[in-house]
Symmetry: C2
Subunit: 485 residues, 2 copies
């Protein structure tokens, strides 16, 4: 592709994307008829022997790729969690690709590191986070990770390093370490503990209350019990807004326990933490002044394209202790002077793109007020939806819904709820996912109605609710076996 | 930003990128005068209170960001390793951002998974890799990781899972496991072993020969010695093209040892493996038929923008055993039927972008022939450079240079070589990095002359060499202390 062709093809792709987003509502949210292999079958089994025009690629985007996608930007996408994007963020990603620089060390592209550090400090300010997370604080700092999974792993490794005084880097012995979280925490906690050689048997599932929040008294009891057995409690992951139901662990009380007992407290607010951009929702981050590390994802609810997870720590020495390795071919004067940040030592991989650009572009071009308005509207719509659900006695609400996720189910039971989700998704008019919620009232399959796409308005939420009601009116087969049951 | 503004701003950014790349040679490769903090100082300390026009962002790209970068796409960028890009790959990244879908599971966006699987199979064919790595093979398959560091970690975790029969996921005990590599291997091996709870003391540094390649007899001896001590040898990382000097471990012999002794063999060809796109360089992947896993990076030498590491395994059960966790909110029928690939179980993070698009766009729009031509030319230039260096008796060549990296130094010693690198980089006309090479002839600081940017031609290489010679003519201060010395 020549530079001139790049210009023409680039304009065409910009137009294609603009149209894709403007017209996205005309598409089904997902293609329920699609079976594994259906997309691949439409593409050549072998690579092309000679170059093709870009128009052929665009045609395939239209005819094969887009119909084979689940449209996360669709206003009736109520599944999983929001993965919303925005125009400035798309351009930020384009700029990053065009520059094609590596930000593994300060010296490999200084602006890549410095804009990132600045963005973390801007976000500390906008979210009202503790000053001790700032890059200019005595012991803290922040970094962009690809995902909350990586942030969680980085937190576990930092904790592991600190509790062993760094010995783990040498002898790797983790056999006495024990970590704590709840059954409602994200799957990345257990995955991270496995990766770090802690193992699932050394992950304690702390009981949760009927709101699906961790019971601090149980945490305290379990830590004491493990200590009596000669084990070494070292890490707690507290969720502020669980994936399953947006439950909020009591981080302030958990923080007190961790501080007293010398455990590392990681607070996972991947989804909900961004709500703190709105002053009245700052409570989502209560307790952070006692946390050792924290993460939240602009790529979920802030219109900054994936991947953009913000990870802060109040103890960067532990993070660097866990993750820094210095080969000869990466030595530099800037590094040895200690004046520069080398983000390769703050993350799992070595290489890194200029991800800060998309956050910078978004904050500058759209500003924080438009994000605040979007978050407020999503929360309002969720509360409005909850009121509607309450008026239909075939449904029940399964969990508190302080923000933008409503978990509800059919009183007819889990099989019926699973059947409803499947029937709704099969229409292509909306997309929902499920979870299982268990507390002292029992265990139930629950429909997750997650409201967070940038284009979602009241009309879409009401249509989604009407869709669910109309399907129940049709008298679903209520005797189905739940998925996985 | 409105859709119409996105179109106009998008065109402007496409133009900006085209001009950036077309005119990149007019810039210094890096800005040697830049000090830590210089970029940040030019930007507002606090986030903007109201939206700004995109033109302000573009102006800052021109005035602050670009002058603060190290230009990896510059034709006189001879530092680190190539991180080259191409026009179709830039557009692929843009398309991925515009679609904004998540590929963590097949069902979360089927085309995202299926195009990726197809690309891995296309690349298996183009690189001539063993059939057992194909997705339609009995036990193998491939995936795009963000970086070779993640691929290495995935390999270590797979090996750890297999040797413990999966027990490691539960009890985490890794205290008897031992891994093997050379001092020339990439830093991500040791980092991965630390992350996985193996620890540096359980990483054996196998002696290398005078070409910086692993000595298979030493590997065999060390494995036997560790077994005698009651330890459990489980993992070997063999480099095919080291970062430091492009050394090639004897993977066929290493493979025989691993197979006989039941160790997992990971072959790291992150930089050099792509050379196998050219038939006469297929030898770079010799021995792969005995490997359990393998990685190479289109984002280094193939014009596919970072991040695009291709990771294959012949034992996907071990990989999935190590990395899969299934929470209720991710269950699906497609998953339970076993027909679909869920790439979240093939990698460290949960979330993932549609990274396959940039590889697909590049293979279709530029074709493999243009990449073959580029690789051949870079190798030719490196061999031509080596001949020139041989004619100047103030220089010596420090390592074999079969591909696109020449390691050379001043006979005057390591301090002089460091001074030369610094002086050359201070001109901004070219950029080099250093390494330290130690074998039976001694230890030396070596200048790495890495030739791999897409725009690099004979003129740039000759100018780089002339720059080095002219600086030596100026009678450098030869008594400097080497960096880190």
């Amino acid at each position: 592709m020549t530079p001139e062709e790049f210009r023409q093809n680039g304009y065409a792709l910009i137009d294609w994307i603009a149209t894709y987003i403007e017209d996205i509502e005309q598409r089904p949210v997902s293609n329920p008829a699609l079976q594994p292999g259906d997309v691949r079958r439409q593409l050549p089994a072998h690579p092309p022997s000679s170059p093709e025009p870009f128009s052929a690629v665009l045609a395939d985007l239209d005819d094969i790729i887009a119909p084979g996608l689940t449209h996360w930007q669709h206003p009736s996408f109520f599944a999983y969690f929001p993965g919303n994007s925005s125009y400035p963020a798309i351009l930020g990603e384009l700029a990053s690709a065009g520059l094609g620089v590596q930000g593994m060390s300060w010296v490999t592209s200084p602006a890549c590191t410095e804009v990132e550090t600045l963005m973390l400090d801007w976000m500390q300010e906008l979210l009202g986070l503790p000053e001790r997370f700032r890059s200019d604080s005595a012991t803290g700092g922040g970094v962009i990770h690809g995902s909350a999974s990586e942030a969680t792993l980085a937190a576990i490794l930092s904790a592991r390093w600190r509790i062993t005084g760094g010995d783990v880097n040498l002898d790797g012995d983790t056999t006495r370490l024990v970590a704590y979280t709840t059954a409602q925490a994200h799957s990345s906690i257990e995955k991270g503990l496995r990766i770090a050689g802690i193992g699932s048997e050394h992950m304690r599932i702390v009981a949760h209350d009927d709101t699906f929040a961790m019971r601090a008294d149980e945490l305290e009891r379990m830590i004491a019990h493990d200590r009596e057995r000669g084990l070494v409690p070292f890490f707690v992951c507290s969720s502020r807004g669980t994936t399953s139901s947006t439950a909020f662990d009591p981080s302030p009380e958990i923080g007190e326990i961790c501080r007293r007992d010398g455990l590392w407290l990681h607070v996972d607010a991947a989804m909900s933490g961004i709500a703190a951009l709105v002053p009245e929702y700052r409570w989502v981050n209560d307790g952070l002044e006692l946390a050792d590390s924290y993460c939240t994802n602009p790529h979920k609810w802030m219109g900054v394209n994936f991947d953009c997870d913000l990870f802060w720590t109040a103890d960067r020495a532990a993070l660097l202790g866990a993750l820094s390795i210095l080969p000869e071919y990466l030595r530099s004067k800037a590094l040895e002077s200690g004046a520069a940040i080398d983000y390769r030592d703050w993350q799992i991989p070595l290489g890194r793109r200029f991800r800060a650009l998309k956050l910078w572009f978004t904050l500058r071009c759209d500003g924080v007020e438009s994000v605040q308005a979007m978050i407020r509207e999503h929360v309002r719509l969720t509360q409005q939806l909850a009121e509607l659900v309450t008026t239909d006695d075939r449904f029940r609400i399964d969990a508190p819904h302080p923000l933008n996720l409503l978990c509800c189910s059919l009183v007819a039971g889990s099989g019926a709820t699973d059947a409803l989700i499947e029937a709704a998704n099969n229409t292509g008019q909306a997309l929902f996912t499920r979870t299982v919620l268990a507390n002292s009232h029992g265990s139930t399959v629950s429909l997750r109605f997650s409201i967070g796409a940038r284009l979602t308005t009241e009309r879409h939420v009401l249509a989604g609710w009407q869709l669910l009601r109309s399907l129940v009116d049709l008298d679903l087969d209520l005797d189905r076996t739940p998925v996985g049951g």
